[in-house]
Amino acid sequence: MPRSASLGAFEQMVLIALVRLGPKAYGMTVRREIEQRTGRRVSIGAVYATLERLEEKGLVSSFAGEPTAERGGRSKRLFRLEADGERALRASQEAIRRMTAGLNSRWGTT
C-alpha cells in the first residue's frame, strides 16, 4: 500500500483546507475553515500538530509571513500543499470513493 493512502481523516481535512484557502492558509484560517465546514470543534493545537506532521512527511511546506499589528507583532506561518501532498490527498479520496461506491442507495442519499 502506498504511503499516500495512509492519511488520517483529520489530516485529509487539513490538506483540503489548504487547497481551499490557497495563499491565505495559516493556522487560524485552517482551523476556522474546518470548523465552519464540518461543524466540528477544532483546536489550534491540533491543527499545528497535524501540519507539523504533514510537513515532516513532505506533504506540505511552510514559510514565515510578515509580522502584523493585529497579531501583536507576530508573523504568520503560511502553509502550502506540495505535489506529494496533492497526490496523497487524491489517493485517499479515491480510496474513500471506491469504498463508498454503491452505498448511496443503502444510506438513502442520492
Binding site: 476556522r32 489550534i44 493545537g45 507539523e52 501583536g72 508573523s75
Partner: protein
C-alpha cells in the same frame, strides 16, 4: 478577515503554557493566531472571549504534547542515557569498595564517602549523557531513580526513610546537575 477593535487579552498564563509546548518555530505563529482570533471575537463579552481562549489552550495541550514528545526524539535520548548509565554504574560499585577501604571500618565515614562518590559519579553520568545527546540527562535521572528504588526494595534490612529519600533524590538531581554543567 474582520475588524480589530482592541488588542485582545489572551491570558498570560495561557501564553506561557503554549510557549512551553510549542517548537521555537511555531511558537510565535500559533500565539499570533490565537491573538488574532481573539481580536476577531472582541465583539463578544470579555468573559466569553477568555473562556474560548482557555478552551482552545485546554484542547490544544494533548496534541501539542504528543508533537513535543515526537519532536524530542525520546528513543535517541533514552539510548544515550542508558549508555551513560552503563558507564556510571560500575563506577558507583567501585566507589563503594573504595569507601569500605578508606573508612577504616567506621560505617558513618563509609556512608559519607560512598554518598559523595555516588553524587560525583552521577554528575559525570549526566555530563556524559548530555555530550552524547542533548537533553539525555533527564532520562538518565529517571533510570537512576528507578534503579535506586529497585535496589532499596530488594534490601533485606530497610535503611532509614531519610537515607532512602536521599538516595532517591540525590542520584537523579546529580544526573540533571551534571547535564546542566555540560550545557
Amino acid at each position: 478577515v474582520g475588524h480589530y477593535v482592541t488588542q485582545p487579552a489572551v491570558p498570560r498564563s495561557a501564553i506561557r503554557i503554549l510557549r512551553w509546548l510549542l517548537s521555537e518555530r511555531d511558537r510565535e505563529a500559533l500565539i499570533g493566531d490565537l491573538v488574532e482570533e481573539c481580536a476577531l471575537r472582541s465583539a463578544e463579552p470579555a468573559q466569553d472571549s477568555c473562556r474560548w481562549c482557555w478552551e482552545q489552550v485546554g484542547r490544544s495541550v494533548l496534541p501539542l504534547l504528543q508533537a513535543r514528545i515526537r519532536r524530542r526524539r525520546w528513543p535517541g535520548k533514552l539510548g544515550a542515557a542508558a549508555a551513560a548509565y552503563v558507564v556510571v554504574a560500575p563506577l558507583v560499585v567501585a566507589s563503594d569498595v573504595v569507601a569500605l577501604e578508606l573508612s577504616g571500618g567506621q560505617p558513618a565515614v563509609q556512608a559519607w564517602i560512598s554518598f559523595l562518590a555516588f553524587v560525583a559519579a552521577l554528575m559525570l553520568g549526566g555530563c556524559l549523557a548530555t555530550s552524547i545527546r542533548r537533553g539525555a540527562a533527564a532520562p538518565l535521572a529517571a533510570i537512576v531513580m528507578v534503579m535506586s528504588a529497585l535496589w532499596l526494595a530488594q534490601m533485606p534490612d530497610r535503611p532509614s526513610i531519610w537515607y532512602q529519600l536521599g538516595l532517591l533524590l540525590a542520584g537523579p538531581s546529580s544526573a540533571v546537575a551534571g547535564g546542566r554543567l555540560r550545557n
